[in-house]
């Protein structure tokens, strides 16, 4: 199996105008974004004020400023020192508190993302390892025709079984709920109303353990 890299990774390039237009556009996009990110970090970490103005290859103006692009430009052009009145400082304090919160939120999200990415890599790793043992776990594009046919049959059959399994469960559930109504006068409960995406163990919704054991015996 050929290894496919999603990107070339970090490569050293000479600092001179990029010859290819499409490459140039992509580079502008990425580097502009990275530049603003670095500027944002510098402001947060060191409490500085900054304005950056860049023009895209299409002559669109992109700017980043802290606290504001306009105020920094005005301050620079007029050579006036910034106002130091208390009202101004209060505004600054609020603004900084807000930025603090946003930074915390962003950091948390990026951490979650890191965790999920690692989880994804683990899952990929497990699957790759399993592929050596179980040929049907290989990517579909790598399977031969009769392997595909066989796999297709197996999967269709599994699907059939799943459908039957599901109907059985629903039948059991309706039997069970009528029993429960009889037993403790509670109304019908919906064991399968779960939040989307939450896989829930059936056992955990059944109030009566003894009944669950009985249920299991029927199907094992």
């Amino acid at each position: 199996m050929s290894k496919k890299k999603s990107s070339l990774g970090r490569q050293k390039i000479p600092i001179e105008k990029i010859p290819k237009k499409s490459h140039l556009q992509v580079t502008f996009s990425k580097r502009r974004s990275g530049l603003f990110k670095k500027a944002s970090e510098l402001c947060t970490l060191c409490g500085v004020e900054i304005a950056i103005v860049v023009f895209s290859p299409a002559d669109k103006a992109f700017s980043f400023g802290h606290p504001e692009v306009e105020s920094i430009i005005d301050r620079y052009l007029s050579r006036n020192p910034p106002p130091e009145c208390s009202a101004h400082q209060l505004v600054e304090a609020h603004r900084n508190a807000n930025v603090r919160d946003l930074n915390m939120q962003l950091t948390q999200l990026l951490n979650h993302l890191e965790v999920e990415k690692k989880r994804g890599e683990e899952l990929d790793h497990v699957r790759k390892a399993r592929q050596r043992q179980f040929w049907w776990e290989s990517p579909i594009d790598e399977l031969g025709l009769h392997e595909l046919l066989q796999l297709k049959v197996s999967i269709e059959d599994l699907k059939k079984n799943l459908g039957k399994h599901a109907s059985k469960i629903m039948m059991e559930q309706s039997n069970m709920s009528s029993q429960i109504v009889a037993a403790n006068g509670l109304g019908r409960f919906d064991a399968f109303e779960t939040k989307p995406g939450a896989g829930m163990n059936i056992a955990s919704t059944l109030p009566n353990n003894a009944y669950y054991l009985g249920f299991r015996h029927a199907y094992l």
Binding site: L42, C46, A61, L106, H112, L162
Partner: protein
């Protein structure tokens, strides 16, 4: 250069903050210059710090004047269209991170359900403790996989048709008698245990090909834990 992860918050330690400021300021100015050169575009940066009454600028006071003049010549709307401050910039990054997280979670869920499907296939039966949600996800995933499988089958059969027909060896290699008819009982229990040997499987497969996909005779799950690639391969690898 240190590669420790830095917490995204104001650095309280004065000397540490100053050191960071020096390094990052230098790096930032370098990046502005690179962007300008690589893409052949106009750019400028103005930086006010507590360490210097005069702002640090790039490329030069004259260069900054020129770029600011070009900027200010534009209509107000064009100036502010792509203007951001910390607040709006961070919000944009947060939205992007949320999207990426959602997508990554979805991909991981799909990978897990795929594993579940493979486990059912290897075990030859449906695992217990599956919730209705899991079952629904499994069925959906199976449908997705069937789509891909069918598509691929079509591609391969088209290819085969454009090549001279080669009889698959396993069809002609001596077919042994079927030793044991495997019981498939859907009514009671889902324990579909199949220990077949290779010849039986070949036979089954031959039947499958001949009958054009017989439904009920098809044996669903293989217990192939100790078997690897038992189909002598043909022409498609």
């Amino acid at each position: 250069m240190t590669r420790k992860k830095v917490k995204l918050a104001f650095i309280v330690n004065d000397s540490s903050r100053k050191a960071t400021y020096k390094k990052r300021k230098k790096g930032l100015m370098k990046k502005v210059g690179e962007l300008s050169t690589l893409c052949g575009i106009d750019a400028c940066a103005i930086l006010y710090s507590p360490y210097d009454p005069q702002p640090e600028v790039w490329p030069s006071p004259l260069g900054v004047q020129r770029v600011l003049a070009k900027f200010r010549r534009m209509p107000e709307m064009e100036q502010s269209k792509k203007m951001v401050n910390q607040d709006s910039f961070l919000r944009q990054r947060i939205l992007k991170a949320k999207d990426q997280l959602k997508k990554q979670r979805k991909d991981n869920m799909e990978k897990e359900i795929t594993q579940l499907m493979f486990q059912c296939l290897s075990a030859g039966k449906i695992l217990q403790n599956l919730s209705m949600v899991d079952l629904n996800d499994l069925v959906w995933l199976i449908d997705q996989n069937l789509k891909d499988i069918n598509r691929r089958i079509e591609v391969l059969t088209k290819k085969a048709q454009s090549q001279p027909q080669i009889v698959a060896p396993m069809v002609t290699s001596g077919v042994a008698k079927i030793e044991e008819k495997v019981q498939v009982s859907y009514g009671h229990g889902l324990d579909l245990d199949m220990n077949m040997d290779i010849m039986q499987k070949q036979n089954w497969f031959t039947n499958l090909l001949n009958s054009g996909g017989g439904g009920d005779e098809a044996l669903p799950f293989e217990d192939v834990n100790h078997q690897n690639g038992f189909w002598p391969n043909p022409f498609f690898h």
